[in-house]
Amino acid sequence: MAPSGAIVPLASDAIFEYPLVYLTGHLPFRFSETERRNVRKLVERGGMLFIDDHNHDIGGVFHKTAMEEIARTFSPPNDLPNDNEIYRCFFKFSDGPPATSHELNGWGDNLVHKNLQAVMQGGRIGVLYSSKDYSSEWNYSPDSKRFSTVDNTRFGVNIIVYALTR
């Protein structure tokens, strides 16, 4: 585990040193055959892939290509029920995934997404997909979050705890 994170090429075998892989972006992307094989192997062996759409736009190119790649590599993702364990494994999120200010401000696709999406692997989440652009807000200064009803960084803690314990 790299507590501060590590940037690893998906095509590298070093990816298997990090069973929680976080993928984000706003440009279209395609897996190479090696990357696809590695990602599939990582998830099948118990790892977890978290993809966050930096565009927070279901009409955007990142979302469209990511969905295609997930479907091609695994299967099309489904809405994750809001009572899933990931919402209570550390902090409690009784209403499901916390919203981001981008959603509330109507940016991107102008939607507040009620659910995250997931591909389940053996009863646990293998691929978690978010259209909420958590990654933009998780690095905000705490001062910028003081007006938030819920600090959605807490959900990031849940994702890590879930990946480490399930």
Binding site: D13, P19, R45, G46, F90, T165
Partner: protein, 427 residues
Amino acid sequence: MRIRSEQALRGIVIVVLAVMLWQSLHVQGDSGGRAVSARGIGRATLSNWSSFSKAPGRLHVQLDSVPSKIEQAWLGALAGAGSSVTWSGGLAATMIDAQPIASPTGGTKVLVAAPSGSSVVISDEVGVIDTLRPHDAGASVTLNSVTDRLSARTKNSIASTGVRDSVVLHKILVIGEAGWESKFTIAALEEEGWKVDALIRVAPGVDVTQGSAAIDTSRYSAVVALDAGASPYANRIAEFARNGGGVVLGSGAASLDAMAPLRAGAVGRSTSVSRGVQSGAVVSLATLPLAPIASLRSDATPFEKRGTAIAIAAERVGAGRVLQIGYEDTWRWRMSGGDGAVSDHRLWWTRLASSVARAPRIPRTTSTMPSDEAPMIGLVAAVGSATGVQPRSGLSGNQSDAMAWLFVLLTLGLIGEISSRRLRGAS
């Protein structure tokens, strides 16, 4: 002179004939002190030997196969009646035992003892299952599914046993810090069918729990304590072991002072972290980091070694069993291993858990068939071990030799007497 010689020869012939007649009549009339032998035994042979008015002095049988229990008892009875019963033959001492495996997937471990290098055919009521070649007089095979009765057949011996017991298994409790080792240990056990509770420490004083926190043998068959996350539970784990529970200690947990009563040995300095992934090599059990178990306690047993270093050791603590493992970061084996790494990692963890798990046995009511786990035992108990004496058919060795010499004497006497008469022209 010549005529007297002929008369002497005639006399010798008559005496010899008389002796042979007397001997044959004497034997028929009284078998006491007689030695008899036979190749193989059967009910008829045993019945015949038992019908003598006096028990034969010595009985010897050359065996091609292990006699049945009735025949063994019969030989024992003859020995008890005063006969000296011996046997010879290259019978292979064969033994079979079947033990239920303490695992959610069930299965039976079949243990066989037979001469090294011999071929032992394992069968159940459906048919042949496998053929084993024992080394150091022993071999074993794990079977997922068998009928109630198993047999081990060598060329001249059949041992059989019934699958008599099943086991009661409870959950496994995994205790450790939040990390990949605890995650993938739980995953491996769950995927193999174990019901797993977990106490995962995610922050000081904060545990993520899955299931009950009460550590006792009514809830758990085994506890897997991986690292320092088990520290607050050390006393309860020790009590659990003393009460009959099984414990698997990772090197991180074994190095805790509080775990000293459970340690099989001291935790040595860990080898460097596996560089298998970085170098592109496939990670396996052999390349995992290892904290060797040193200064093994006198009552502990080394189970597995890497080179000269002890990798796994076991010991009894009270009524329970403790297994201390030196391998570290086994999750790397699962994630970066070869094609079979996931199942290998899964099986490895379930075997560790199975080897210590408290699993009370429940007799199976279906196993009522007779069995003979070690057929040679009854024979040896009845008449002793094999002797090197070779069998002779009919009379004993001394009697047969005497009869042969008498016959030679008789023949020479007759030839001499007739030749002498012919040579002198008499009719």
